[in-house]
């Protein structure tokens, strides 16, 4: 019989700074716990349309006394809890530990800028997702973000870097964050990706992370149509959010919202993260305001 799962050995490994070791069933508990943490976080929902991508997120940190004055104006929109601009062509929606997410957002922005510096183009969306996943995966294995090979070979004299082994790192736990990436690049046009703490990523037409993601995904599965327009996707996202969120009232104090489209004149991606006032105006125009929550909730959007 195989060796029993030795808790003292696991403890010893933890003391040595190893993030994760396999259980006898072949599972990585730290990763599963991280995913569990995410399934309690605020919902983030994304829908890919033929002419854009829509993201919406449920804010958890709310309250009368919370100072939200910085979200009203200043910045680039959004209230900085769940939806971030990662690059001019990518919006990220995060679910999980906010502090971990901040660190990943920082990393993503740096990776995007590094690509811009080297290639003078916006980073392709899948590449950005890969960069973050490489780091996330590192924390499930050797506990660190050191890249096994250099991102860029600047000059011929940098060849030696190819043979430099990765630095030993000792992280303590994986990132407790799942991310939705809504982006555009000339290779595959609009895209929606999801990445989880294990470093897996996948592309989606519509998906959801965080609390009640199962419910939301089955709703999306029923309602999603191929070649849906952004306008319809906005309605679909808001309706799905209103059904899956804990509170029955949709409003800017509980919701973050963003849309990525192409600028009709310049044909460049245009990321719009809505401000609280704009979210309220949008909910009003979609007929999903607080007052008539009961009948608006279940009715499919009239515009569809």
């Amino acid at each position: 019989m195989a060796r029993r799962y030795d808790k003292t050995a696991a403890k010893r490994n933890d003391d040595l700074g190893r993030t994760t070791i396999f259980s006898p069933e072949g599972r990585l508990y730290q990763i599963e716990y991280a995913m569990e943490a995410i399934s309690h976080a605020g919902t983030v929902l994304g829908v890919l349309a033929k002419d854009g991508v829509v993201l919406a997120a449920e804010k958890k940190v709310t309250g009368k006394l919370l100072d939200l004055s910085s979200a009203k104006d200043g910045g680039y929109g959004g209230s900085g809890e769940k939806i971030y601009l990662l690059n001019s062509n990518v919006i990220g929606g995060v679910a999980g530990l906010t502090a971990d997410a901040n660190s990943l957002v920082n990393y993503a922005r740096s990776a995007a800028q590094q690509h811009l510096l080297n290639y003078n183009e916006d980073i392709p969306v899948e590449l950005l997702a890969q960069r973050l996943c490489d780091m996330k995966q590192g924390y499930t294995q050797y506990g660190g973000a050191s890249y096994p090979y250099p991102l860029v070979l600047y000059s011929a004299s940098a060849y030696y870097q190819l043979t430099t082994p990765p630095l030993a790192r000792t992280g303590l736990r994986p990132f407790g964050v799942s991310i939705l990436y809504a982006g555009y690049d000339p290779h595959y046009h609009f895209q929606l990706y999801h990445s989880d703490p294990s470093g897996n990523y996948s592309g989606w037409k519509a998906t959801c992370i965080g609390a009640n993601n199962g419910t939301a995904q089955s709703l999306l599965k029923q309602e999603y149509k191929d070649d849906i327009s952004v306008k319809d996707a906005v309605g679909l996202v808001l309706r799905t959010m209103s059904k899956t969120m804990d509170s029955t009232t949709l409003g800017s104090e509980k919701l973050e919202f963003a849309v990525l489209t192409l600028d009709p004149t310049t044909k460049q991606p245009r990321a719009k993260i809505y401000r609280p006032s704009e979210i309220d105006a949008l909910l009003l125009s979609e007929g999903l305001t607080k007052k008539d929550e009961d009948d608006a909730e279940m009715k499919p959007a009239a515009s569809a």
Binding site: N118, Y119, N120, E121, P124, E126, L127, Q130, L153, Y154, S155, A156, S157, P186, H187
Partner: protein, 197 residues
């Protein structure tokens, strides 16, 4: 003397480079290929200062391998503009090193994302500019005025090749040390191919 030309047309790019490898006043070789296909839709003509032939080959191979590495790692190849930016940076970094490469490049490709040809003129100082037609070497003194007069971005492939022919003929007629033979390559939506003029 080393000479290279390139011009864009409707949905294609033509690149030509002489095939002589010389050392001092001696022709060592007359069938040297100085145009590398960096990816299925990307061509690079490289030439250098006289007597620094190894420099150009070394740098071209370095670029070739790195562009290939990017493609293997990231599933899709670099677009021409991105490749040009990366190469320019490699040259600019090299210029500021102890032993810089003195390589002049023409980088041309067909962008499969936007379906149009792009051409970049790059010199050993790390200067880069996007142009409709370009030339390096002594041939440039004769060809650029011809290209000013005859280049048409909407020209068909046959018209484009005829314009190139004019340039090569003029160089053959007027340049004291004119090269004898050229290699001509085309890149379009179907990829890279070589043609005989």
């Amino acid at each position: 003397m080393e000479t290279s030309f390139a011009l864009t047309g409707k949905g294609y790019l033509i690149m030509a480079a002489d095939t002589t490898a010389a050392r001092s006043i001696v022709k060592m070789k007359v069938d040297e290929d100085k145009i590398k296909a960096l990816s299925p839709h990307l061509l690079m003509a490289y030439s250098g200062e006289p007597g620094k032939t190894r420099d150009t080959v070394q740098f071209a191979e370095y670029v070739e391998r790195n562009i290939r590495l990017y493609q293997i790692r990231n599933l899709y190849p670099l677009r021409p503009a991105a490749a040009a930016s990366w190469i320019r940076r490699a040259l600019a970094t090299s210029l500021r090193s102890r032993k810089p490469y003195s390589v002049n490049l023409l980088l041309g490709g067909y962008d499969t994302a936007t379906h149009d040809p792009h051409l970049y003129w790059i010199d050993y100082l790390g200067t880069m500019t996007e142009v409709p037609f370009a030339a390096h070497g002594y041939g440039a003194y004769f060809a650029l005025s011809l290209l000013d007069r005859y280049h048409d971005p909407e020209a068909t492939l046959e018209e484009g090749l005829a314009t190139l022919r004019r340039c090569l003929d003029e160089v053959a007629k007027r340049l004291v040390v004119s090269p004898g033979k050229y290699k001509v390559k085309i890149v379009d939506k179907d990829g890279v191919r070589e043609v005989e003029l």
